[in-house]
Subunit: 260 residues, 4 copies
């Protein structure tokens, strides 16, 4: 039995680190982190507009306050005196089917609608209607539509606008629109949410559904680090981390400076 | 006992997600992920050059092939049939004092040299000499200098050039240079490595040492996701993940396209 | 929305801790850990023979040296300077479908054979033959039979003997024997292994398949703690944890003292 | 560089698994899990009374209802759809300095009192008084005394009684009594709690402080498995796991049957 194995991600040699063939030192300063994420997961560099879109996608999910279980788990673990890395890891472990998973699920479901429509944009509305009826018959739900808190999430509109700019609105985004129309026709106000929008756009960019949760992890780690650092700095050990009881006391609402 | 608690990171309201006061929908498309990371950890937006520097810092650490324990742990866990999130979490848990920790340790040690020099750039060489002698007497090591594999890491030079551009080379970077001169004077070739460079630059940017490992986690998650996805796609479950036995079979070395 | 929720495991009151109704202070000294594990997972105390069987089951899986991925992951994480709890957690995270999971899978498959035999012991051989043929047609494998290293695992014989004593050899154990006969008839030497034996016995004891991996975690934590403690005490940080390269240098083979 | 390494825990050979020299198949049915835990961590089998004491120690910490952060973290992670092993791992990661850590801290502090008394039982009261005064001067606390919920924890009395039987009440247990007397003399009712009792007894049994948290992990995993299994069976995904809001609805208080 040989113990060698192969990897196609990064080549290490003395004084050289190449990701998918590109020297990291050359990438630094020339591509954004979003573009580098695209490169490492897809194997090729994105064009400039897609790179910007990637940054927007990960920025959109950088944090959602104290409400998600990933933050509650990370803070609960941190409250026991755990290290930063163990606490953040507990947050990452919380990103699963029911938390972040709507991105992947929605992408898969939109893919099934596209298949049902035989990839013909004209047939997407009929396919969406049939697909939703089937889901209902199996008492299943469409992922990525509707939200506990947000009814008109500004992140969603922004994502679609940036995807449009990048030419990344293909059949999945169109299928998502078809689903929205279908819900509306049946009297339900269930707009696509930020997870659904990310799932549709990533699918149109060609990402495989099984790495989409990975993009959510990449996006959310800075939020988790910030929450754990805040827990360690501001809170007493072993406090009860009560969900829904956090009061925001950070900077007031402010506009982006023109210089950004 | 009241169960309310405070957080200053993100404010959630219906149809509004504000990070440190800024609407995420406004940040999307206007700031890179590196700039958003700076914002969420520091509380303020960076200027444009610092934003670019932040992207370069996280790009520089996005992956280091199959050599680090974080990748070996993540792949070993993945080989048991674990989920993507559990496998990535095992990688994150491996970022500690001895892995990634040189960033924080080096920043702290440079801070001690600066203190010893009473913040006077003229006194940094003498302070570094004295500090290294003290370390030696305690049989301790200076963190962030020298590397198992790289003797002239191109990432380091690139980081310092970008830090220069961003005006982010303050006392910590100068102290690092003093340490290099000091090693050279004593006949040792121990140049600052990429971890040391990041530690010096982050300290000059004003980051607290205790969140620096967090920046390394943020940077490395895409690499971990890529390795776990590759393990799941290419390898058999329960294989032996033998360190040092991976052979790179990805794209050959290539130049960045001009269009990036 | 009310925030209260229910739990039927342990009742805490001032100066009282009751597990499934029994005062822990009364359990202490009167029941073994194996019996307490049965109680907390099943809700009732086992009889004395079943309690002893439970101890034997968890003792049988307390460690398997340096070969399993759980130990390699735990040691790899420990080598980075992680805490004991984070390192042990990385080991636990490695207990999944492909590692330890044969216990649960085998129990489920034996359950399907029993169903096929309409719970009639006379029909188990025919049902096993049919079931294995179906598996083969789907290119699937029977879990819990055969072993990489052990061809006649003494733990297995011991488990069945203790199960016999405890009167815990019901249909699942009989179905396992039917599978062995079926393999033998087709010229394959694939005896039931320790995981398969545990799965069959736990199923006959009435454990649900979905908690069986939990029993393996309970059993293996002492081994993980011992390995992490040894790693921290004997090894250098950041060493390569190479699978298959460990040399045993502990006490030589010895007999149990009569006094035990 | 050689890649071989040593381990003194378990020797694996075809059809043989030996823990610290003893064949696991022989241990099964002859020693309880508590005795096997002692063996794997200490290298030698305990005598029968110490084996029973070990079982009592791990039984005493098998669960503490829904109050500890380890359970809250495990349930929060489970609520996202995580696997059993990832959820239990999140619980394990919560066992740290502030949760379970009193066992180790108390053992260390009692060790310091014993040193101050020059191992002379006659001098323990004076040493305890001096030590507590020093702690107070440094605004530090004695670990393992007093409890949020329990003022006269029946588990503590039971542990000391069983330790007495096993002849395991040496200087650490005596030092703990000296600390209690000292608190009482100064008008404080701060009896030793279950963690302090375990720390004192384990230290008298010769366990190193750095593995004591490991014993707490070993003890608590069955509780974590039971809580995660209950969460998966009874609760909706993504529910808010609110600390302090659980209502016990399990079996009513009941006496141990005589047959146990």
């Amino acid at each position: 039995m040989t113990d060698t194995w192969n990897t196609a991600i990064t080549e290490i040699a003395p004084n050289s680190v190449r990701v998918r063939g590109y020297d990291i030192a050359e990438l630094m300063g020339h591509v954004s982190f979003g573009a580098a994420v695209y490169l490492i997961l897809r194997g090729e560099l994105p064009d400039a507009a897609t790179g910007r879109l990637m940054d927007a996608i990960v920025v959109s999910s950088i944090d959602h306050g104290q409400t998600p279980p990933s933050v509650l788990a990370a803070r609960t673990v941190a409250s026991t005196g755990a290290t930063l890395s163990a606490s953040v890891a507990a947050g990452i472990m919380s990103i699963n089917r029911h938390h972040g998973g709507a991105i992947e699920n929605c992408a898969r479901q939109l893919g099934q609608i596209i298949e049902k429509a035989e990839k013909d944009p004209e047939k997407l509305d009929a396919a969406a209607t049939a697909f939703l009826a089937e889901l209902k018959a199996r008492t299943q739900r469409m992922s990525g539509f509707g939200h506990r808190i947000h009814t008109a999430d500004p992140r969603t509109a922004r994502l679609f606008a940036l995807a449009q700019e990048a030419g990344a609105t293909g059949l999945h985004v169109q299928a998502a629109r078809a689903v929205e129309r279908c819900f509306e026709a049946s009297g339900k106000k269930l707009p696509i949410n930020v997870d659904g929008a990310i799932g549709a756009i990533l699918a149109d960019l060609g990402f495989a559904p099984e790495v989409m949760n990975g993009l959510f992890m990449i996006a959310r780690v800075p939020g988790l680090v910030a929450h754990v650092a805040e827990e360690q700095a501001r809170m007493k050990p072993m406090r009860r981390v009560v969900p829904g009881k956090a009061i925001y006391d950070g900077p007031e609402a402010r506009k982006l400076p023109d210089t950004v």
